[in-house]
């Protein structure tokens, strides 16, 4: 009896402890993290312009309007140009540098590792402002250099073109690739060196070693990197776009889903339409990550 009571009160204490450690966090998380997400989906089914006057349920009309909005396909196209451009750029560069810094016994590799990560600690705002200056048509770095080399005035508007979205790739890669380099280095370093030694004895070339050992055994890191790129790009491309091309460049040339959401909501006051774009971002990033996950699994099997 006494024992049971004590056990009961200990249990009680334990539960109180657990709750006291979980609830504050959970509460904040539910109110400020989860609730807005739900509400966002909810809002996308309404015709609501921020005030309280008009708040009508319109079902999927916002999504229908999206179908007829010529800008939406452009934003999706641009987001995927960024996603795939970044995947290719990031992976080529980071695999190359990671291999160079781990497998080739290069002098100063610690120094390089430290340096390469620097852009990652800078705010994307800083990166955007810097690169906007690089691209400035008249006084910027790029055109000034071209003019100086060719001796003729070169004034191409890198950020004022139909295809300016591609001009946003170099800054994005410059700013983020440090992370995947570090990740790939960690992955390669985790590969048992005995494997390489055995390959060496068999007389395998560096390229063969890369193909047969490095690539398959660091595949997890590659996959992680790719998924990380997809998620951060689809939800974060807004920043580099608005900092470098303000409202989406020439005729929405660089408009992405995030910036278009922002513009509709906070410039035109079309909040429910903006929410619908938010749902679009959610669905697309969900589909993309799942599809890429599947795709890379299959390739993984083929490789090994």
């Amino acid at each position: 009896m006494n024992n049971a009571k004590r056990a009961g009160s200990a249990r009680m204490k334990r539960n109180v402890f657990i709750l006291s450690f979980i609830l504050p966090t959970l509460l904040l998380y539910l109110v400020f993290g989860i609730y807005p997400l739900f509400k966002g989906i909810y809002l996308s089914l309404f015709d609501w312009s921020g005030g309280s006057e008009t708040y009508n349920f319109i079902g999927l009309d916002n999504f229908k309007e999206m179908m007829n909005d010529d800008v939406i396909p452009k934003t999706i196209r641009n987001d995927y140009i960024l996603v795939f451009g970044k995947i290719i750029g990031f992976m080529l560069i980071s695999v190359f540098f990671a291999v160079a810094l781990t497998r080739f016994n290069i002098k100063g590799s610690g120094f390089y590792r430290t340096i390469f990560f620097i852009p990652n600690v800078l705010s994307v705002v800083v990166v955007g402002v810097l690169w906007r200056y690089v691209y400035n048509p008249n006084v910027g770095f790029l055109n000034s250099a071209i003019s100086a080399i060719t001796g003729k005035t070169y004034d191409f508007a890198w950020l004022g073109d139909k295809w300016s979205i591609f001009a946003l790739l170099p800054p994005s890669i410059w700013a983020g690739v440090g992370f995947t380099i570090i990740l790939m280095i960690a992955g390669i370093l985790a590969i048992p060196s005995s494997l390489y030694e055995a390959a060496e004895i068999d007389g395998a070339s560096q390229w063969r070693q890369f193909r047969l050992i490095t690539l398959p055994l660091s595949w997890e890191q590659i996959k992680t990197s790719v998924l990380w790129i997809v998620m951060t790009t689809l939800s974060g491309s807004f920043v580099i776009v608005t900092i470098m091309t303000f409202e989406g460049g020439v005729d929405n040339a660089t408009q992405v889903m995030g910036s278009y959401l922002y513009m509709n909501a906070f410039k035109f006051g079309k909040f429910s339409y903006g929410s619908a774009i938010g749902v679009l971002i959610l669905i697309l990033s969900f589909i993309t990550t799942v599809a890429l996950q599947k795709l890379m699994n299959r390739e993984n099997i083929e490789l090994t």
Binding site: L28, K39, Y133, F141, I182, F266, T289
Partner: protein, 282 residues
């Protein structure tokens, strides 16, 4: 002893591309410093690689710090970063500890719902969040940003710290229980100090994220006295359509870059280690 590779073409290619990339990373930083010391005519020359003319325009810094209130924004950013990092560490360490060391119903659900939050674009909730914060009188206030930054810092921190707590030996709690320590005492006096490395790594990354954050700060703050540095820089860049001030703009960039670069130099190992900690283990 590593194998000696011949001095081959591919090696040379690697050496030089490493060097070039390092240059490409460092040069913009150095260049920003130099450019912050120039005046307008020097910019309009179209020779951005030139060294600044003497005398150097040091006044760009005081101009930005005082007239553009970057001193003020610096304090805003600093307070918000420190408070939300501490708060985030506390809130995530407590949750992570319970998830890792106590068996209870819903613990798995809790863990994975935090994780999946990392995969949902925050943008989806931006509009409702704005109105929610406004209803709670949290827009245009540091507290609002502190809350939202704390919340966004939690999932990653929980993820990493659960891993750290799980590695601690079971005997620790048992001996603590024998000594009559309460649950709270065990956590604060024994367990928490043992995961300090994890806590530090996580906090460092949180600091970087918050210091650099732009989207939430843009949406939730539109009172110029409450800006954080990234928002202030973005505003300053767009104000340059009404007056050209290249030198001060780059001086403002340095206000943002300086602290993080310093921070990075001090904690370099912990930063890169912490970032890969979660990703590589999996």
């Amino acid at each position: 002893m590593k194998r000696r590779t011949k001095f081959s073409g591919s090696r040379w290619l690697m050496q030089s591309s490493l060097f070039l990339w390092a240059l490409g990373v460092l040069y913009p930083v150095v260049w920003t410093v130099l450019s912050a010391l120039k005046d307008n005519p020097q910019f309009l020359l179209g020779r951005p690689w030139n060294l600044p003319d003497l005398p150097l325009i040091w006044s760009n810094f005081s101009y930005v710090w005082e007239k553009y209130s970057f001193g003020h924004y610096f304090v805003n950013s600093l307070i918000i970063t420190i408070v939300s990092t501490l708060l985030g560490a506390l809130l995530s360490a407590t949750t992570a500890y319970v998830i890792a060391r106590y068996a209870f119903r819903g613990s798995g659900l809790l863990y994975y719902s935090y994780l999946s939050y990392m995969m949902i674009p925050a943008f989806l909730g931006m509009i409702p969040l704005f109105f929610l914060m406004d209803d709670l009188y949290l827009t245009n206030r540091a507290l609002g940003l502190i809350i939202i930054y704390t919340v966004t810092a939690v999932p990653f921190a929980v993820f990493v710290l659960v891993g750290f707590f799980k590695q601690l030996p079971k005997e620790l709690e048992e001996s603590a229980a024998i000594d009559g320590a309460s649950h709270y005492g065990t956590f604060f006096r024994i367990m928490l100090p043992l995961v300090k490395p994890g806590l530090v790594s996580v906090s460092i990354i949180t600091v970087l994220n918050i210091w650099n954050e732009y989207i939430f700060a843009l949406v939730l703050v539109n009172d110029p006295t409450k800006y954080t540095i990234p928002v202030a820089i973005a505003v300053m860049q767009s104000e340059m359509q009404y007056r050209t001030e290249w030198g001060p703009l780059f001086a403002a960039l340095l206000v943002s870059m300086g602290p993080v670069l310093l921070f990075y130099m001090i904690f370099q190992r912990k930063i890169t280690g912490g970032i890969t900690a979660g990703a590589v283990k999996g």
